[in-house]
Symmetry: C2
Subunit: 223 residues, 2 copies
């Protein structure tokens, strides 16, 4: 058992070293970087499609679309107008790590880039433990999943800076209380910034886009 | 890297040995055993609540409710009338393993038991690799998650015998095609038995209950 733990620590410290290199390179070029995490089917790709459709003429965006299998998500992002999109198929691994990301980075045009988004594998547990060099993790939760998820999967909500509550158009059909989910999430992480939106109806997306723009502006203005 | 692989193989072979012991003990007592797997929020606990409410007077049922944190699910199952319910909090681990299950088994009354159900951690990747001594894995998918999930998380659908499509009352609100999800799932695993149901409206539950009863009857009649 101690061998397992030692090995895990070694793997994680190697990951952290690589993540720091990625972060330094993004920072040097003043590129804002987000790591999108959630359960399968919470709407990561849908939100990124909407983001590309609305913001691609206002800023330069690159995305890495992680999946266990298929390049479906990357193809959806390209169809949504994304020009700097790379699929990252793990072939079985339940999360992305910094090594995988650093391998695809040379294939992405970072020239004049404003925003770099990594869409992680759909998994509310394992990706929480891996720094990919991002500025912050954005955790999505859809109202169909239940308002208890922050308490049941605390690691992910603790390590994220932003929580997006998606599919709010389905609220009436779900046993999901908005105040409860916020209370549960803030109990785990009092610093969480929270967005409520629906990729299907478009409700709440304007606030999300405005925040992304302010994030990019802040990064450009940073020392 | 080879150290990691060797260690993983050793951990898995130890798991398989323990799982075989669990299976033998369940088999000897003619107890049907299912391992429920899915993304977080697909409705594993909801389906188990409905199952207890309807079948608890017709057969003896025990359940282990696995979660990363909280005993919420176990409490819901007890409130639904379950008398032999044990929580299994992993404290961080993204899946249950046979060692965890064998540790809680002595606390469960197996006397005259007909059906033993393990509710795994909500995770569509990692639990697929761990045999818990069950007769079969039952994978749930809700229509809100999208019809591409079997292709994107093939390991889980390959290693499951049954696929339950839940939340069919929400079909009209989702970009989810029933024929497509079945085609995708059967492409990964042609032997999958498929149920369509809604825990919210009750549609399709009768077929599910009838199948569970036939499963238990077959087990009792087995050599």
């Amino acid at each position: 058992m101690s061998t397992t733990i030692k090995l895990e620590k070694k793997v994680l410290s190697e990951n952290d070293k690589l993540a720091a290199e990625i972060r330094e390179s993004l920072q040097k070029n003043k590129i804002a970087a987000l790591n999108f995490v959630s359960s399968p089917g919470s709407g990561k790709t849908s939100l990124l499609e909407k983001t590309l459709q609305t913001l691609r003429n206002q800023m330069k965006i690159a995305m890495v679309a992680g999946d266990v299998q298929t390049e479906n998500d990357a193809n959806r992002l390209i169809a949504a107008g994304g020009e700097r999109i790379k699929p990252l198929v793990t072939g079985g691994s339940c999360h992305l790590d910094a090594k995988m990301v650093s391998k695809v980075l040379p294939d992405i045009d970072m020239n004049d880039l404003d925003l770099f988004i990594i869409e992680n594998v759909g998994n509310l547990v394992c990706p929480s433990g891996y720094d990919l060099g991002e500025d912050m993790k954005v955790v999505l939760i859809s109202v169909t999943e239940g308002d208890d998820k922050p308490l049941k999967y605390p690691g992910m909500f603790r390590r994220s800076s932003v929580m997006v509550i998606n599919k709010i158009d389905m609220l009436a059909l779900c046993d999901f209380d908005m105040d409860t989910v916020k209370k549960n999430a803030l109990q785990i992480n009092g610093d969480l910034k929270i967005f409520e939106l629906s990729c299907r109806t478009g409700e709440g997306l304007d606030t999300w886009f405005a925040w992304l723009k302010s994030l990019v502006a802040e990064k450009k203005a940073s020392a």
